[in-house]
């Protein structure tokens, strides 16, 4: 690990330097394997938060209170420590600028991580591909990558909308409820614009959002989903 960045109180990004890394597509994930001194091992999957950049890649880890792997990654791992990775993994939930848009991203909590890799790839390519992100979080302080998302959203071509489900700051004008059919009807691209849709988050959010997109007329084959397992890692 080269560096760590605190994103929110429960979320930390790990900047890793991986010699021999073959590159990856935004949306792919890695398997992380931890090994104790006596040989005991535990492994989990984590989305990559950054587009391909030589041997550098960033994982963003949400600390799961009773988790086995995420507390180690979020609290214990220090710059200079080694980490065993396998990847990249997954070829379905991926997007790169060459695939074009418009891009319809819907995320909940740390489900923003693979979507952020896509948005960062879009920005790095200087691509003017129209993109929309609808991101759900419990509160303003729990929005991962908040400042960067606001900056990217100010750059044109990307519209970022937030839904804060539990607590809203004074004067909040965004959504204050869970993502639902009506919300997607307001913020999503219309089916005629043939967006590529990516939905990532907890199961309830993904079920609701993908169902709503289909009800709104989107071809189910254009709606790609990634659901969290119990560890907070992606599927």
């Amino acid at each position: 690990m080269a560096a760590a960045v605190d994103e929110t109180p429960g979320v930390r990004s790990l900047v890793l330097d991986c010699p021999g890394w073959p590159g990856h597509l935004p949306g792919q994930h890695v398997d992380v394997r931890l090994t104790a001194e006596d040989g005991y091992q535990a492994q989990r999957s984590y989305s990559i938060a950054t587009p391909a950049d030589g041997t550098r890649l960033t994982l963003t880890i949400e600390r799961i209170a009773d988790g086995e792997v995420s507390p180690y990654l979020a609290d214990e791992l220090r710059p200079g420590d080694g980490l065993e990775l396998r990847g990249p993994i997954g070829g379905w939930f991926v997007w790169e600028p060459a695939l074009g848009g418009p891009l319809q991203l819907v995320g909940g909590g740390s489900g923003v991580v693979p979507l952020m890799a896509m948005l960062r790839a879009r920005a790095a390519a200087g691509a003017d591909i129209p993109a929309r992100l609808l991101l759900s979080a419990r509160s303003w302080d729990e929005v991962i990558y908040r400042d960067e998302l606001e900056r990217l959203g100010a750059g044109g071509g990307l519209e970022v909308r937030f839904a804060l489900t539990r607590a809203q700051p004074p004067g909040w004008t965004g959504y204050a409820r869970r993502i639902d059919h009506d919300m997607l009807g307001e913020v999503a691209w219309s089916p005629e614009e043939m967006p590529r849709s990516f939905v990532c988050g907890p199961t309830g959010l993904v079920e609701a959002a993908t169902r709503a997109l289909v009800e709104l007329g989107h071809d189910p084959a254009t709606v790609k989903a990634e659901r969290f397992g119990p560890t907070g890692g992606p599927g």
Binding site: S45, D81, E84, T210, G235
Partner: protein, 201 residues
């Protein structure tokens, strides 16, 4: 030994009886949902299950015909490639031995097809001899759509992506043909006890 993660001890949770949890897996008590797209809406009066491909005559069942077949209740451990295992899961379904009874084929491979377009491949012999079911109930209740209802394939001796949700048929094939995840770098066979997660394992 090789690499050690400095300061990592692990939680060493009790992972059930010895020999029940494959390498690299951990036990969960909930039932995580993993699928690649929207959950399809499949009305029972439109549901069909069809065995086609290398057969003289495809065979097909409506929901009522399917539910009139002999079924059984089985308790199985299931293992997802995303590393969770769930022990003693309770299913009701129709054995593939029943569905394939009387189907005359020289095929050695099968490709399961689902509503929504998902596919997964496996050797035909992995569907036979009491190893696979088309399951319509879980825990004594109709299988919920997000878990693959109305009916899903249940092949518990392989990683759970082989147990295709929303299954609507099986094509019997002379030559193996990779399915959905198998085309995206996952292992062609997927034996959890050999940790066959990804191509090359």
């Amino acid at each position: 030994m090789g690499f050690v993660s400095r300061g990592f001890r692990g939680r060493r949770r009790a992972d059930g009886p010895p020999g029940r949890v494959p390498p690299g897996q951990y036990v969960v008590t909930d039932f995580p949902v993993l699928s690649a797209g929207p959950t399809p809406d499949v009305p029972l009066d439109e549901w069909r299950f069809t065995i086609a491909g290398e057969v003289d005559d495809p065979v097909s069942w409506s929901w009522d015909e399917f539910r009139a077949l002999p079924s059984e209740r089985v308790t199985k451990d299931i293992h997802c490639v995303t590393k969770w295992s769930k022990l003693d899961t309770d299913w009701e379904g129709v054995s593939l031995d029943v569905l394939l009874d009387g189907v005359d084929t020289a095929a050695e491979y099968a490709l399961a097809r689902s509503y929504g377009g998902y596919t997964t491949n496996l050797p035909l012999e992995d569907l036979l001899d009491g190893k696979a079911w088309v399951a319509y109930a879980f825990g004594g209740a109709p299988l919920e759509p997000e878990h693959g209802g109305p009916a899903r394939l249940l092949v518990p001796h392989l990683y759970f992506w082989k147990s295709a949700k929303w299954v609507t048929g099986i094509d019997l094939l002379a030559a193996d043909r990779p399915g959905f995840w198998e085309n995206y770098g996952y292992h062609n066979y997927g034996n959890p006890w050999l940790e066959q997660r990804y191509a090359g394992d």
